[in-house]
């Protein structure tokens, strides 16, 4: 049986896995098994990132995302965000633990200096401290909430990003979106923003679940619903098809050139089924 492939349409979103899988937390459900020790995917050097930003600009990229691992562990993250904001609207995905007053001030200054929006997505998996920290680690909740408040206080409007990892424990009819929205309002954030993403059964959760995608399943399917048709990820080792599969050799499309990665990608992984079924995107909207 041949593995189906998704055509490439255009480079809309450039992702930069700036710290590889190096993170100061060790969440139980992390899809790429990021953690504090022995990251299996290395951080990117500053020069590589700047080169990718330049190439992406010439290719008409629409938005740029920094992810990891924890991007704020990178020594040059602020200058890199500044460089990205000269090219396109930029988003940083973070656990929020490193966002202090000083970092929040710096981010606010970068946002004010750019014509493009700076988005900061802060991961929280439950509005209850104990439940959140059970999967994200002790202290994670308080630090994330501090980051949400620090950024909101500077007019930056962070986006609370939650996976559905703890959803199964909630009673039926409890709207996840409304719970987070109400929580943000309750801590004084007047313009609540919430993004919810499904759980990918991979990484630290171990691989399980659905079968692989087949040509038959994709007959007549609107491929534009798959983010790999207009997303590329720069990570250690080259350019990959999507943020979920970054670093996996089967998903690698070029050794470093974005343009060379503009070709169909194999939908070979179990996580491709999740995107196919849910229509999810890692992008903000």
């Amino acid at each position: 049986m041949t593995t189906p492939a998704a055509p490439f349409a255009q480079l809309s979103a450039l992702w930069i896995q700036v710290t590889g899988t190096w993170c100061n937390l060790k969440c139980t459900h992390c899809f790429n098994a990021s953690g504090p020790t022995d990251p299996w995917l290395k951080s990117l050097d500053t020069g590589t990132v700047l080169h990718s930003l330049e190439e992406a600009e010439s290719l008409g990229v629409k938005e740029i995302y920094f992810t990891g691992g924890e991007p704020f562990l990178h020594k040059d993250i602020l200058p890199l965000v500044e460089a990205a904001l000269r090219v396109a609207p930029t988003t940083v995905l973070t656990n929020g633990t490193r966002i202090t007053d000083r970092v929040a001030d710096a981010l606010a200054a970068l946002a004010a200096a750019s014509p493009y929006s700076l988005e900061v997505r802060i991961s929280v998996d439950d509005v209850d401290r104990e439940r959140n920290d059970r999967v994200r680690g002790r202290g994670a909740f308080d630090k994330a909430v501090r980051a949400l408040k620090l950024l909101s206080g500077r007019g930056l409007l962070p986006i609370l990003t939650a996976t559905e990892i703890l959803q199964a424990e909630l009673s039926e009819g409890t709207g996840m979106y409304d719970r987070f929205r109400d929580f943000l309002l309750s801590i004084g954030i007047a313009k609540p923003r919430v993004k919810i993403i499904p759980v990918f059964r991979m990484g630290r959760l171990g691989e399980s679940g659905e079968d692989l995608l087949t040509e038959e399943m994709l007959r007549g399917f609107d491929f534009s619903l798959l983010q790999c048709t207009e997303t590329r990820v720069v990570a250690d080792g080259g350019v990959y098809a999507c943020p979920i599969l970054a670093g996996l050799k089967e998903a690698r499309l070029s050794e470093g050139s974005l343009e060379a990665s503009f070709r169909p990608c194999q939908l070979y992984h179990r996580s491709c089924v999740t995107c196919y079924q849910t229509g999810m995107t890692c992008r903000n909207a």
Binding site: G60, K62, E63, V87, P89, A111, G155, L157, Y177
Partner: protein, 265 residues
């Protein structure tokens, strides 16, 4: 793609959203400003009351229209409006207004929407001008001011062989001039105010002389009457509130940070 001729001065509006009172006022205003032609960039329905009331006005005004995503969805009998919202609250409100609009649009008007071109091209003075709803590549792509890089605009202009692109879909106007006298103009919307706390709506007047001059024109209309009709029709309270206050109460999650920061909610 339709070739819509050559002009020196045109009026362009979009996002009517069934706001027939604003449409009436816009057409009257444009008529008094010497526009040689009036263009509409789509989304006739949604949000407002009595969707059928906009069609006689568009036809009497000889408006050259293109399809928006809402028009496409109605014409194709799709299950949703295709607005591109991603969160449950926005989708909840979108479903309510789409169901109302489907229910209250006559078949002949739906068929008329189905016959509209998806894009138009014209000469505006020396400017090769492309008219689209969302973006040249996707009918429901949002081109917000703070989320549309110069590199992307240049790519569009190169690939679609244009000097100026006119679009709508976001509901908030903006204009950017790039190198080589290239332009992108998001002409805003006349169906609802643009989240700035005022009740006026906006359209664009474009004049090609030596340079391309883009003026955004505010239009006042009887917004209280519209809000009352929306309530009478059972449309969500949140929609009428937007018409009365000028602040968006829904469709908020799609706003980039800078645009969201300017609003009240």
């Amino acid at each position: 793609m339709d070739d819509s001729g050559e002009y020196r001065r045109i009026a362009v509006f979009g996002g009517v959203y069934s706001n027939y009172l604003a449409l009436e006022a816009t057409l009257a205003d444009a008529g008094g400003r010497g526009a040689e032609a009036v263009f509409c960039l789509g989304d006739m329905g949604a949000f407002g009351p009595h969707p059928d009331r906009v069609f006689p006005l568009l036809k009497a005004g000889k408006v050259l229209a293109i399809q928006g995503n809402y028009d496409e969805s109605l014409a194709m009998g799709k299950e949703d409006c295709g607005c591109g919202y991603t969160d449950p609250r926005d989708n909840h409100f979108a479903r309510l207004s789409y169901a109302y609009t489907v229910r209250n649009t006559a078949p002949e008007n739906t068929a008329w929407l189905g016959r509209l071109p998806r894009q138009r091209r014209m000469r505006l003075g020396r400017y090769r001008t492309l008219l689209c709803h969302g973006s040249p590549r996707r009918i429901n792509e949002f081109l917000w001011e703070s989320a549309t890089p110069n590199g992307l605009i240049e790519k569009f202009l190169r690939e679609y062989r244009a000097d100026a692109i006119l679009c709508t879909h976001t509901g908030i106007k903006w204009h950017r001039i790039l190198a080589d006298d290239h332009h992108l103009v998001n002409i805003g919307a006349i169906g609802r105010p643009e989240n700035d706390g005022t009740t006026v709506v906006w359209y664009a007047l474009l004049t090609a002389e030596d340079d391309l001059r883009v003026e955004f024109i505010p239009v006042a209309y009887d917004h209280e009457a519209l809000a009352c009709e929306m309530e009478h029709e059972g449309l969500p309270y949140e929609f009428a509130e937007t018409i009365r206050t000028g602040w968006w109460t829904t469709c908020l999650e799609i706003l980039p940070a800078k645009e969201r920061a300017r609003g009240k909610y």
